[in-house]
């Protein structure tokens, strides 16, 4: 198993057959194609998407169903085609695809990008960050709302 040095986790080893490949990279990181999904018991359910090409590049993600158990995929035919899925119907989360939402840690608290989830085809490990133009989901869905103020 090859080793890879990372900024966030130090040296990690991974199975090359388990490397996730983004044929077009991700928006903003179009030339970063290969990632490993890293999980630790201590930080479950977070899934870290560690770049296998840039030791300092890592995305924090959550399985989308953890954030919204009712989440409905609206992946475009083009995005489905990119990862080898039939464009006609939406894939099933868990059986056909792994669906992750990228977390941003902001000063105001963590948010999840529900507008553009990362879809990983479980059969070939090809992935795409699917941007659906007409999505009603939020780009910055607040994960931990402030405690409601007490009315006096």
């Amino acid at each position: 198993m090859p080793d890879f040095e990372t900024t966030s986790f130090g040296r990690i080893s991974y199975e090359p057959e388990w490397a996730i490949e983004f044929p077009s990279g991700l928006p903003g990181f179009e030339d970063r194609r290969r990632f490993a999904a890293v999980k630790f018991e201590k930080s479950a359910p977070l899934v870290f998407l560690q770049s296998l090409e840039d030791p300092a590049l890592c995305f924090i993600t959550l399985p989308v169903l953890v954030v919204d158990p009712q989440y409905r995929l609206e992946v475009s035919g083009e995005d489905l085609g990119q990862i080898g899925l039939a464009p006609g119907k939406q894939p099933r989360i868990g059986t056909d695809v792994l669906c992750l939402t990228v977390i941003s840690i902001r000063e105001s608290g963590p948010t999840a990008n529900l507008l553009a989830p990362i879809i990983v085809n479980l059969r070939n490990l090809k992935a795409v960050q699917a941007v659906a133009p007409e999505s009603e989901y939020s780009l910055q869905h607040v994960l931990l709302p402030e405690e409601a103020p007490v009315c006096s």
Partner: protein, 88 residues
């Protein structure tokens, strides 16, 4: 905003270096060809927003903020505010 009407096959020029060609007009979609210098970013609006969000998300996270997030997400030992479920 300048609004122009064009037929399929017609072209719009922007500045000295950019050309927009209406290549096909469909029922609900327009196919647009864009000629621009390499350095000029040409992307769908919603992709630009996702791009910016990814760039912000990829910044190294202070460990404290991360362990706080994990503590809130793991099965709570004491009652805590739960994840906000979005309303569609």
């Amino acid at each position: 905003m300048l609004v122009m009407s064009r037929r399929a096959g017609e072209t719009i020029l922007i500045g000295d270096d950019i050309e927009i060609v209406i290549t096909h007009i469909g029922r609900s979609r327009v196919k647009v060809g864009i000629r621009a210098p390499r350095e000029t970013l040409v992307i769908a609006r919603e992709v630009k927003l996702v791009r910016e969000e990814n760039l912000a998300a990829a910044v190294t996270t202070p460990p404290a903020a991360l362990s706080n997030l994990v503590a809130r997400l793991q099965p709570a030992r004491t009652p805590h505010s739960s994840l906000q479920i979005p309303r569609r």
